[in-house]
Symmetry: D2
Subunit: 351 residues, 4 copies
Amino acid sequence: MPSLRAHVFRVPADGPDDVSLVEALFADRIDVGNVVAVLGKTEGNGCVNDFTRGYATQSFERLFGKHNVEGVSIIMSGGTEGALSPHWTVFAREQVNEPGEGALAIGVARTAALPPEHLGRREQVCMVAAAVTEAIRDAGIEDVADVHFVQIKCPLLTSQRIADAEAAGKTTATRDTLKSMALSRGASALGVAVALGELEIDAIADSDICSRFDLYSRCASASAGVELLDHEIIVLGMSAKWSGPLAIDHAVMHDAIDTRSVRAAWERLPADGKLAAVLAKAEPDPSGQVGGRRHTMLNDSDIAGTRHARAFVGGVLAGIFGMTDLYVSGGAEHQGPPGGGPVAIIVEKEI
Amino acid sequence: MPSLRAHVFRVPADGPDDVSLVEALFADRIDVGNVVAVLGKTEGNGCVNDFTRGYATQSFERLFGKHNVEGVSIIMSGGTEGALSPHWTVFAREQVNEPGEGALAIGVARTAALPPEHLGRREQVCMVAAAVTEAIRDAGIEDVADVHFVQIKCPLLTSQRIADAEAAGKTTATRDTLKSMALSRGASALGVAVALGELEIDAIADSDICSRFDLYSRCASASAGVELLDHEIIVLGMSAKWSGPLAIDHAVMHDAIDTRSVRAAWERLPADGKLAAVLAKAEPDPSGQVGGRRHTMLNDSDIAGTRHARAFVGGVLAGIFGMTDLYVSGGAEHQGPPGGGPVAIIVEKEI
Amino acid sequence: MPSLRAHVFRVPADGPDDVSLVEALFADRIDVGNVVAVLGKTEGNGCVNDFTRGYATQSFERLFGKHNVEGVSIIMSGGTEGALSPHWTVFAREQVNEPGEGALAIGVARTAALPPEHLGRREQVCMVAAAVTEAIRDAGIEDVADVHFVQIKCPLLTSQRIADAEAAGKTTATRDTLKSMALSRGASALGVAVALGELEIDAIADSDICSRFDLYSRCASASAGVELLDHEIIVLGMSAKWSGPLAIDHAVMHDAIDTRSVRAAWERLPADGKLAAVLAKAEPDPSGQVGGRRHTMLNDSDIAGTRHARAFVGGVLAGIFGMTDLYVSGGAEHQGPPGGGPVAIIVEKEI
Amino acid sequence: MPSLRAHVFRVPADGPDDVSLVEALFADRIDVGNVVAVLGKTEGNGCVNDFTRGYATQSFERLFGKHNVEGVSIIMSGGTEGALSPHWTVFAREQVNEPGEGALAIGVARTAALPPEHLGRREQVCMVAAAVTEAIRDAGIEDVADVHFVQIKCPLLTSQRIADAEAAGKTTATRDTLKSMALSRGASALGVAVALGELEIDAIADSDICSRFDLYSRCASASAGVELLDHEIIVLGMSAKWSGPLAIDHAVMHDAIDTRSVRAAWERLPADGKLAAVLAKAEPDPSGQVGGRRHTMLNDSDIAGTRHARAFVGGVLAGIFGMTDLYVSGGAEHQGPPGGGPVAIIVEKEI
């Protein structure tokens, strides 16, 4: 009986438009038609005016267009602060003639365009929840407990989009463009929590979004970008229908220096495994403190708090894993507990 | 036979002018007249226009002035990026009626004002080397191998100081004010290396400063600040003439993710010790890579590379030590190997 | 019959702690006891973590303390972007034995500390309105039409203040510290409008603050700073009870490039007058456009919009007045029409 | 006898990839095959890691590729600080059956790739001088006095390019990537001065580049970008061989607030002309002062001096011309006198 098999490749990027090493993969390592998603860390500021995400997306569209491949989910997260290294993680899947044995499973989905006035409100939560459920089904994961990471790329508000909504007689949840990124990530993460049964949709009010941070998903990861209007969703988990050497688990960091949870998750994975990818969220602790000591990330008007958080948590994780091409994404509203965040670890067993 | 005893207090700061918890120490924990130095991490950008250093210095001058105490070495290092926490580390020493048993020793010294045209040149190296030797003697350390950390606060060039020098017919080593901070730190570090016998002064040319990074000191730490024109020097090491529960050792990180060296140094210290202070230097790896992967710190025109490096190495060290009030100072030119830096660890044995 | 006479001195500053040229004034130009206010432009970012304001304030407190003078209103506005030049404007008043003839009048007032939960709400509007009325009376201005500039220094929320309020069971108007600066400036400006009879207090709801920008004062100027908890108010206008060579008028810029209004106001003043001071507010146009063309100030996550606006409007005004030591303060919520702002011009007639 | 006719279109851009309004021009206003150059202001930081230039360039390459047009010179200058507005200026030329009468003339040229070790040195000066001469010939301008603006896009050094050069045993003029932008602009500007007979090549030493600012061209404008390795050159001037309603003149601003020179140049152009384009250079005055007062642009480690200068001079010029879609480019080394810069004005006579 055939099964599905996942492939994960971590590839360096020399710039937002450097897709050369991904193209090289297509020559001998992977069939371009099997690629389902590309997760990228690009070197912009990860905030509103980060055009490296759009530039990278345009570059990948050209690449896949050249190969006449459509529908690949391209998720770019800006920000490689500190020693974090710009890179692409390519996810592919293929059918193989081997029995399912329990392995990394990948599912994807995409929503319709989000009206600007729904951003950061319950409508966005519901829209995302439905699509996550669809992506879990696409992955062939039967028990939501086997879901370890849900990556969502979500839209943001620009001055123009706010003006358009207001011209149409609507009000948006905020007029602050940077704030809209947080609201969009937060509502998306709550959508994951609803899909995974962690929260009931009825328990979430508009005013809870980016406010009641005791409501969260243990494995949501959301990035907002100016270059899309809908949501792109990738679900990673374990499924008995999949085979191959890849396995995933995840930790929930309880604060920015919670290395214990991360080491424990890594130890649950095969001991002889080679790291295939580490995917994490980071945010400035909204309490203003880490480990009982004040931090200054939220009072810094020169550097966005998300940039501080990526650099710092990037350092914490690089110290553990000994590598810097980690996918550390900023802004973890409702993604793990306040000040903490999910960390997914994918390893490849030696065969 | 009497000995000297060192005290080290790590105290939180609510802002550059918040010296209240240091003042509280004077009430019951420490005689203000015994204080020899205050090392501070303040929350500015750590670069040219970081006025938090001067503001904190002015605040401490007021505090010590109120107690009629003069001559305390006040060294402020700007930059608490990531979750690093603004704090003061107070160093004091007193004579006690107990025999010397080998413990943390502290010595201080101060140079004359540095003419702007000497900054970043051999003249600065020589000036610093002489003062470090004087501080080692002040600490009662007999073997330079027992020196574990030499902290130097050094001046920088402002547009005004450059103009003054040029008006006087002199040329400065650079006209770039941010670059002058690097040159000053670099020349100071080489001065430490000369004092510790790590390098011969004759082996150092003007053009080597901030250029030949294979020349370095294993335990120099220099911070440049706009608020002083001379150098303040603090030497930390072990001496048989000192007693008490404090001990120090140091590691040399070979790159920004070299956790192994740091753990090894910590293990050389008493196992039951409580962390009293961690003092470290960090810098963007001049090779443009960490662990074989590209970093973007040196190409980022929005955030100075030193800020990136503090945030990231702050994360690496906070992950190891489980605390965020670490003294991580940026710009490690000639302070440890390129891309790495010294890390001093002070522990207090349980008694 | 005696009258009051105002003095205005514009003095360069070499740094936030350089009060030397103000001290020099006390030697021969002005009696320190006659100083009522110092308005400063300091070189910080003008946002939450701008410690140059507190540093300058501390420096002036030391200076006035040395002269045993109390109660001088010290208002520091951070941000000298572009070619704007850090400087102090010293306002003094004295009684003279000459008849009142109509001249620049200065009045001051100070409120109680603002509870954090009142910031950005009607309570703050009312508190400020009462104090502005008091300052107008202090200036001896009988007709509010003769008021040309009301400068207010107002508090902001820090993470700590928000936490304190929440611990006391209160909610603050925002949890975003940078946003709190806007709310505080906006509520203060509306307080001016109420005091000047431009708006009725009953016409202002909490939700209008920083939202209904059609509500504004034609001559309010507010700056928020971390270093105070109350409000400091300075009123400038014309009064028949005052004498001397100084006169003031003001323009309302309707957008960032409205030079016509500024030139017209200048022309209403004595033609042979020497510029004593120019005081202006600037903000990124909330419409996202200036003169029908998109600007990017509100989408820039690297540089706060207020910094952009000060630099640009600083350029516009420096082009008109031919000098760069202008008091251009950022964040003009309810201070003039959206995207515009008040500009006060003080000239000294040749005698 | 036929002549050439220039067309200049100023077109708003909604983002670095928004070329829609340029495409719209091709439908009815201009033959795409006649386009010779696009000058763009994009909304990045204008410094090393400004990817908006490359993103815009890629977007235009796609656009022209779709129309099978090659060889258009695409010059992107990053930075729309203050209220400056992102826009494209499209330059086209066509042959018409009307006699030459003296009108705006446009010429273009391109160099070979610049070896990294030549950047910022005499080799770059010579390479650019030769190409400028070629572009003047291409424009049909016979007297260099009729050249009013020479726009050059030049390369910069990245960490990678420096490493490559060093691996090949070469040394680069600097290892500081931001500094390399200044050196490249400076050497390019000196190349213009040589081509225009303003300076002799023999009078320029390597060490003069970005150091002896008394050497300059009155109408050079250079922008450095990461996205090219060679130089793209556009020459604008008046030629008797050209016809049509467009005319150009230029001013040299002597400092950042020299409005008099700009107004004088504008007055030399036809009084009834409509502004077609304004092209200017701006830089922080290297003296540290404007109009005798200190500025802080060179001591700001949070915002690059070029960003400050664009915002401020953008304000000065927008105040004069009453529009914000000005091409103000930062970094004016050897482009006009220190602290000043050239300003070209193109007007279209009413017909």
